[in-house]
């Protein structure tokens, strides 16, 4: 009877596999060394954590949180949502347009258009790689404190995110139906919107929903640098060590993010189900 030989553990290049593992362990050790991670320090500071928790959850006392205060936080929360929604919408539209040109061989197909495609891709990367807090600081400087700066930040962030993933989704679409249309005389522009975009739609919707979730999370912290929303309230309360009211805001943020994430995953499932019928 013929019996198959057991293959070696690291394929046919045992030395390379072994070295890869060693390298990974060395890099990990090096990074933990630099990260200042320390169990002792974490345990030693439990006193401060306890103090924060004690002051954050005081005995119930209606004088601590007035209705006026709560109303103000509520308005700030609404503003956060509005900033995230408006910014995402603008970012989706602009990101989609840029993605059309960043997508390989989609709108044009010539050596010269490669340069255009590359430039648009780089522009999108620039939007994506500069962190949102940095954009927020820039926009606060340009348009001043408030929600508008936050909306612009969310927009730029969304362009960076959606520009990249929209382009990849459209690149992944099977081009044969687009080719069949162009073989029958359709313009390139029409084949993109009649054949490629419809085929990419489920992916585009899913990505948009993820973008909105991301925008909600980042719009919360934008207030820290003065770009509108509830983050500003949170920061000032933390500065005054009003941990109890800070906790109220953290709770509100938690609920907002949770609701948006649940809704977004509900819609994503709806899209999936529609595709499987």
């Amino acid at each position: 009877m013929h019996r198959a030989a057991v293959p070696p553990r690291f394929g046919n290049r045992p030395i390379a596999g072994f070295l890869a593992v060693i390298l990974f362990l060395l890099v990990s050790a090096w990074c933990f060394g630099g990260s200042g991670f320390s169990i002792a320090q974490l345990l030693g500071s439990s006193e401060y954590l306890l103090r924060f928790l004690r002051e954050a959850f005081p005995p119930i006392d209606e004088h601590r949180l007035t209705f006026e205060q709560f109303h103000r936080y509520w308005l700030a929360l609404i503003e956060t949502f509005q900033m995230a929604f408006a910014g995402t919408l603008l970012g989706l539209v602009i990101g989609f347009i840029l993605a059309l040109f960043a997508s390989r061989g989609l709108m044009f197909e010539s050596p010269r258009s490669n340069l255009l495609q590359w430039s648009v891709k780089m522009l999108i990367s620039l939007f994506r790689t500069v962190p949102d807090l940095v954009w927020a600081i820039i926009f606060v400087m340009v348009v001043g404190l408030g929600a508008f700066a936050g909306t612009l930040t969310i927009m730029v962030d969304t362009i960076g995110f959606c520009g990249r993933f929209f382009a990849e989704e459209m690149e992944d679409v099977d081009r044969s139906s687009a080719e069949a249309l162009s073989a029958s005389g359709a313009r390139r522009f029409d084949t993109v919107f009649a054949a490629v975009v419809p085929a990419a739609t489920p992916g585009l919707i899913t990505t948009s929903l993820f973008a909105f979730e991301k925008a909600i999370r980042s719009s919360v912290v934008l207030g820290l640098v003065g770009a509108g929303g509830i983050g500003l309230e949170l920061q000032s309360l933390m500065n005054w060590m009003a941990y109890d009211r800070a906790m109220v805001i953290i709770g509100m943020i938690f609920v907002l993010v949770l609701v948006v994430e649940q809704l977004s995953s509900y819609f994503r499932k709806l899209v999936m189900k529609n595709e499987q019928q």
Partner: protein, 254 residues
């Protein structure tokens, strides 16, 4: 009668591998031509060259008396829109309805002016298309007996139904020539027979010329007036279907 397709000694290669090595033929208006030959003989490549989906490196190709190699993009489009195209599969946009896919057949018509650019946008889907186009698309679906599936998504259709929708889209173009690359190859024998029958019937009715490739000799015999066999990038046999004897055909596949 004037030839509507003329290929003169065309050569084509993928990289350094020559695929077509001097192919010449003419097709008269109203003629139906089958292309046979073993795998890799170059049938699909020839078809793609005729549509200028691949560039040729030597020779000349004319469609309707215009040499397609040197056409400007807009002229190429207006030539292409007179040719209906059906590939072996993946012809349709999967997430759109059968009706929308048929409406797409009108995209190639008169794309020259600015006004037509706007009306082109309305043809991306049947929802936005004008009444004339929607009605015409329904007529075309009806001619392939699929009017009752107009709103079914293309990816929920069977192979045979998809190919019939592709034929309806070709009819929507009101073409003078239909070129099909193994249109029945992914279908079962009965659906394949149906699709081929539809082609030859519609072409005969409307006086449309037809070129199709196939591995099914009986399709070639039953549905075309003329037969052309290819062998490693050359035409090895070309004649009226009735006059080609089956022994010679078997030899072409050897």
């Amino acid at each position: 009668m004037a030839a509507i397709v003329t290929a003169e000694d065309i050569a084509m290669s993928y990289g350094n591998t020559p695929i077509l090595k001097g192919v010449s033929f003419e097709l008269e208006a109203g003629e139906s031509l089958s292309l046979i030959g073993s795998n890799g003989a170059g049938k699909s490549t020839l078809i793609r060259c005729l549509l200028r989906l691949e560039p040729i490196i030597a020779g000349r190709i004319s469609l309707f008396g215009r040499e397609i190699q040197n056409l400007k993009p807009s002229e190429l489009r207006s030539t292409r829109c007179r040719v209906g195209v059906v590939f072996q599969r993946h012809n349709l946009v999967p997430r759109l309805s059968a009706l929308s896919n048929v409406v797409h057949g009108a995209l190639g018509r008169n794309t020259q002016s600015f006004g037509s650019m706007i009306s082109g946008i309305s043809l991306w889907s049947h929802i936005t298309a004008g009444r004339v186009h929607r009605e015409r698309a329904m007529e075309c679906l009806d001619r392939v007996n699929l009017a009752d599936l107009a709103h079914r998504r293309a990816d929920s259709l069977s192979g045979g139904q998809s190919q019939r929708v592709a034929i309806a889209r070709a009819l929507m173009q009101d073409p003078d020539l239909i070129i099909a690359d193994e249109p029945a190859a992914s279908l079962d024998p009965i659906a394949g027979e149906e699709v081929m029958g539809l082609f030859s019937e519609l072409c005969r009715e409307a006086g449309v010329s037809l070129i199709f490739s196939t591995h099914n000799i009986s399709h070639a015999v039953d549905f075309a007036d003329r037969m052309m066999a290819m062998k490693s990038g050359r035409i090895s046999l070309d004649g009226r279907t009735g006059s080609v004897d089956l022994q010679a055909l078997k030899a072409e596949y050897a």
